[in-house]
């Protein structure tokens, strides 16, 4: 370590009082640790840097010990956690980079910009790896659409995601949206990006090579988003104006940055590159140096800024969007500048790589910060807390729900079906996804509305499949089970398309971890994710943690969201979700049990969130995935659709409504082995609805048996139009399929139409 020749703290500047330390979200013991690392009191810039790097968002202080338990290795995993995005080997030299990230807090304050910049950030995480972004998926949570606030938030978030992705030209190909009053003031906006690259072009966020120039490129730095990472690591309080901490996005600049970055990488002009995302210049510089065991020396006076009078503190912590930090090959700086100039982008050399292990920040001649990189990035204090389940939640699991499982008449069963189809969490998402360009780049073989999106992979025969899933209600009632289900459902969705699930990315949306009950949920959920990933052989490639999703009315449901990516060997073997044609046989794979706990049925029809969520047998889940992949490869299925929210009846309705040529009639008949409500609307796991050519049914049955799965033939697909008929024991639902379709399609538009004044 070099000697500090000029102690920055000697200068007349903001005094570091206990109040200033507290404002930076640092505890007394954390401050003492900082003093120990530096051997002196920090400057205000240094305090800002530690505050950002040791926030939950960057430093994972409450989650790191838990995340370490997750499986992060697998034969096809090329890049695991710790980089800008994870990468899998998709064969023939092709890689798939992907990651999910949250933008919950900004979206709660300013939904349009919050969501737009969430998409921008995740795109940059992927293209800094050298991958061209080919798809976005999103996972959204809002309060009830009966609330004007929730409608306002959904309108803004959907437009923000759409305007950003549409303009950059990356298709939004799938996602999920769930509504529950617990998300009223704290919506969740998780965006996942998938990119493709040639593996020999993989670039990492490294600062190697002493003397190599460090360059800031892209948009100029302004005062927006200062301390966004710290903001994201605290509860959302009411009344305070958080808008200055929300960034503003410009997708046009992003598109230029994307093309320029890929050109720089293609021409091998870079040593390393990283998005200036959360905690901006600070985190990108420090993390790049940390990965290489090097140091970085920068002069903020050389940083292109968009407003005058910015302090070093502001420049270090600004989260202005569409900026990158890169380390170039020294003899190629002019070429780098020329490429960026061609794309009408700024580039400035702001410093160089050193070997002293320090993150040194100058303002002209003055050193304003000098921090050892290793403890800054890797010694963020971590906390293992004692988690204790909230006894009130444990009590909810014990509720006797048997009285709610009866459907006394056919009319009642019909009304329940229609009410569920009208539930915003189940209804058609077309109102949302028609605002997203899903077909740009001409890779989309299966887009929104499918169990998984399927994209062609470069110029190969292969395809990429992706799905994103989470069920906060299950995790609330039973965190470990709920998290296991999220992983298995994502895998099942990918496998229904015919692809083999390969790896996950996860976004852990939880409340304030300082509370024992939330910490319990977090630790149990992470354990559940790890167990399911091990059982399915799908390691964790990276992800994001979003804690402090809490308002004065309490925490959100714990909502781990799982993004699963799979590969299908021949894209021509992909399997659609909806029924295809007349006389195809409908089969149900898997066991239906007396399980209505935590279901959409209970929530919508009986206004109850209670009971035990459905059991999930991980070994069976893995066998079901194998069965689906093998069946698709043998071309046995005409369609495959996961049974999830709303149970088998909803799966049957969705597959019939979305059928080829228009909504089709079906005739289904099953024996009653449990209560009518559980049979129709229960959410027993590891079930898939198939349709097949009658000649293939025996082969499918044999394949089920070989995989230790139960199956039954339950009906046939009819012509377009006509009646949707489903008999279970003595209960029969029989009505025109177009009646179902209308309810399903109108549910979101009719709630969102009363939107006057929101489009300004």
């Amino acid at each position: 370590m070099t000697t500090v020749t000029q102690s920055p703290a000697d200068h007349t500047r903001t005094r570091i009082t206990p109040a200033v330390v507290a404002e930076h979200g640092l505890s007394v013991s954390e401050f003492d640790q900082i003093v120990g690392i530096l051997g002196r009191e920090p400057t205000i810039e240094e305090l800002g840097i530690f505050s950002a790097m040791w926030s939950e968002h960057c430093g994972y202080k409450n989650s790191r010990p838990l995340l370490k338990t997750l499986p992060v290795e697998g034969p096809r995993l090329v890049q695991g956690p710790g980089e800008n995005a994870g990468v899998i080997d998709a064969g023939d030299g092709w890689g798939v980079a992907f990651k999910v990230e949250s933008h919950n807090h900004p979206s709660a304050v300013e939904p349009y910009q919050g969501a737009a910049t969430g998409v921008g950030g995740i795109l940059r995480d992927v293209f800094t790896m050298g991958a061209r972004p080919v798809a976005v998926l999103d996972s959204l949570r809002f309060g009830s659409l009966d609330s004007p606030r929730s409608r306002f938030l959904m309108d803004g978030v959907v437009r923000g995601i759409g305007d950003y992705g549409n303009c950059v030209g990356v298709p939004t190909v799938g996602g999920e949206t769930v509504f529950d009053p617990v998300y009223e003031k704290n919506p969740l906006v998780n965006a996942m990006c998938i990119g493709v690259l040639r593996l020999d072009r993989l670039v990492r966020g490294r600062a190697d090579g002493v003397g190599n120039p460090v360059m800031a490129v892209g948009a100029r730095t302004g005062r927006d988003g200062i301390h966004g990472a710290t903001f994201a690591s605290a509860d959302l309080d009411e009344g305070s104006d958080r808008r200055p901490q929300v960034q503003v996005g410009d997708p046009f600049t992003e598109k230029l940055l994307l093309e320029a970055t890929l050109e720089l990488i293609d021409r091998d002009l870079l040593v390393g590159i990283q998005d200036m995302g959360a905690a901006g210049l600070t985190s990108s510089a420090a993390e790049m140096a940390a990965r290489s065991g090097s140091g970085i020396d920068i002069d903020v006076d050389r940083l292109p800024v968009r407003e005058s009078g910015m302090t070093a503190y502001e420049m270090l912590l600004s989260e202005s969007q569409e900026r990158m930090l890169l380390v170039a090959r020294p003899e190629r700086v002019d070429e780098v500048t020329a490429v960026l100039g061609r794309w009408e982008l700024q580039a400035a050399v702001i410093g160089h790589v050193t070997d002293d292990g320090l993150f040194r920040v100058r303002r002209g001649a003055e050193v304003v910060a000098e921090i050892p990189v290793e403890p800054l990035v890797d010694s963020c204090p971590t906390y293992v807390r004692d988690g204790v389940e909230d006894p009130a939640i444990a009590e909810l699991r014990t509720h006797d729900l048997s009285a709610l499982a009866h459907l006394e008449t056919d009319d009642e069963a019909t009304e329940v079906l229609l009410a569920l189809l009208d539930s915003p969490s189940i209804a058609s998402r077309a109102w949302i996804y028609e605002q997203y360009d899903a077909s740009v780049q001409t890779n989309t073989a299966a887009g929104p509305g499918s169990d998984a999106a399927v994209l062609r992979l470069g110029d190969t025969e292969r395809g990429i499949a992706a799905a994103i899933d989470g069920n906060g209600r299950y995790v609330y009632l039973a965190p470990r089970t709920g998290a296991r289900i999220a992983v298995c459902e994502a895998a099942r969705n990918v496998a229904c398309s015919g692809a083999r699930p390969v790896a996950i990315t996860n976004c852990l949306n939880f409340g304030n971890p300082l509370g024992a009950a939330v910490y319990y949920q977090l630790s149990e959920a992470v354990a559940g994710i790890g167990e399911a990933c091990r059982a399915l052989g799908t390691p964790v490639s990276g992800g994001n943690v979003s804690l402090y999703n809490e308002t004065p009315s309490g925490p959100i449901y714990p909502t781990p969201v799982i993004g699963m990516v799979g590969v299908i060997e021949s894209i021509d073997q992909r399997v659609p979700s909806a029924f295809r044609g007349q006389d195809d046989v409908i089969l149900l794979v898997g066991e239906t049990r007396e399980e209505i706990g935590g279901s959409e049925y209970l929530a919508v029809i009986h206004d109850r969130v209670a009971g035990t969520p459905p059991a999930i047998d991980l070994d069976e889940a893995a066998r079901l995935v194998e069965f689906l992949v093998a069946g698709a490869a043998a071309n046995l299925f005409r369609s495959a659709h996961d049974c999830s929210d709303g149970g088998m009846a909803i799966a049957l309705a969705e597959a019939a409504i979305g059928a080829d040529g228009g909504a089709r009639s079906i005739a289904v008949e099953l024996e009653l082995r449990c209560s009518p409500a559980a049979a129709l609307f229960g959410e027993s796991q590891n079930r898939v609805l198939l349709s097949a050519d009658p000649a293939r049914v025996d082969a499918i049955g044999d394949l089920c048996v070989a995989h230790g799965l139960t199956w039954q033939r339950i009906g046939t697909v009819g012509p377009v139009g006509g009646n949707w008929r489903c008999s279970i024991g003595e209960r029969t639902i029989d009505l025109p399929v177009d009646d179902l379709r209308r309810v399903f399609e109108r549910a979101l538009p009719r709630r969102m139409e009363d939107m006057a004044g929101l489009n300004a």
Binding site: G169, F252, T442
Partner: protein, 235 residues
């Protein structure tokens, strides 16, 4: 071999898709033309692709029309060369006054991506020669500013001269309010200039060229280009 020159503006994002359609769907040559240059590099056809040139700042297409290459495109069009504008390309052609009218915010404000049906109204343009009159084609739209409007005289002139090339219709080929996705006057989805060598349309034929993409109805439009420049195809 026919050479299709695809102009790349900053913010174009359907350039690669158009090139793929020309190469894989048509088996012809596609080359990219940088907006700052003054050469069409011997292209037989010029295609202005979709996207958000200059981020749609000011108005869609309003800045791109001032790019250096646009002067060459205008000269090429005036000399009878085939010029196609798709989505943002259509907007640029209108801004450059190669086509009349304007494309404004969709009725209903929102960006819309969905499949639409188009009826081919005219089969003697460079982009419809391989179609049958009245043929109904399915392909996606993806735009926020696709509502075609023109003043009364211009609209009457377009109709009288038969310069409406594509109209939004329902699956059976009939006009229907629900089939018009953006509120365009007279259900107009695409138009041409008087000579029929400049065609602009909002839907994306380059996204409907293979079974994998769910539809091949865009292919006849691209095939029409072969008939427009037979000498290039033959050479």
């Amino acid at each position: 071999m026919m050479r299709v020159g695809i102009v790349r503006f900053p913010g174009s994002n359907c350039d690669a898709d158009c090139a793929r359609a020309v190469r894989e769907g048509l088996g012809q040559e596609a080359l990219f033309l940088w907006h700052k240059t003054h050469s069409l590099e011997g292209a037989d056809v010029v295609l202005l692709p979709g996207g958000f040139s200059y981020g749609d700042h000011l108005r869609a297409g309003a800045i791109a029309r001032f790019s250096p290459i646009m002067q060459e495109v205008v000269d090429f069009a005036r000399a009878g060369g085939p010029v196609i504008g798709i989505c943002n390309g259509f907007q640029i052609l209108c801004e450059a006054h190669l086509l009349p009218g304007a494309l404004i915010r969709n009725r209903g404000i929102r960006f819309r991506h969905r499949d639409v049906h188009l009826r081919v109204e005219r089969t003697d343009t460079v982009f419809t020669r391989a179609c049958c009159g009245g043929q109904v084609l399915r392909m996606p739209i993806a735009h926020g500013e696709g509502q075609f409007v023109a003043d009364v005289e211009t609209l009457a002139e377009l109709e009288a001269d038969g310069r409406v090339v594509f109209r939004y219709v329902d699956e059976s080929g009939c006009a229907a309010a629900s089939a018009n996705p953006n509120g365009s006057q007279n259900d107009i989805a695409g138009i041409c200039n008087g000579a029929g060598n400049v065609v602009g349309l909002m839907p994306h034929p380059e996204r409907a060229v293979s079974d994998l993409l769910g539809c091949k109805d865009g292919l006849p439009l691209f095939r029409s280009l072969l008939a427009a420049v037979p000498e290039a195809v033959a050479s």
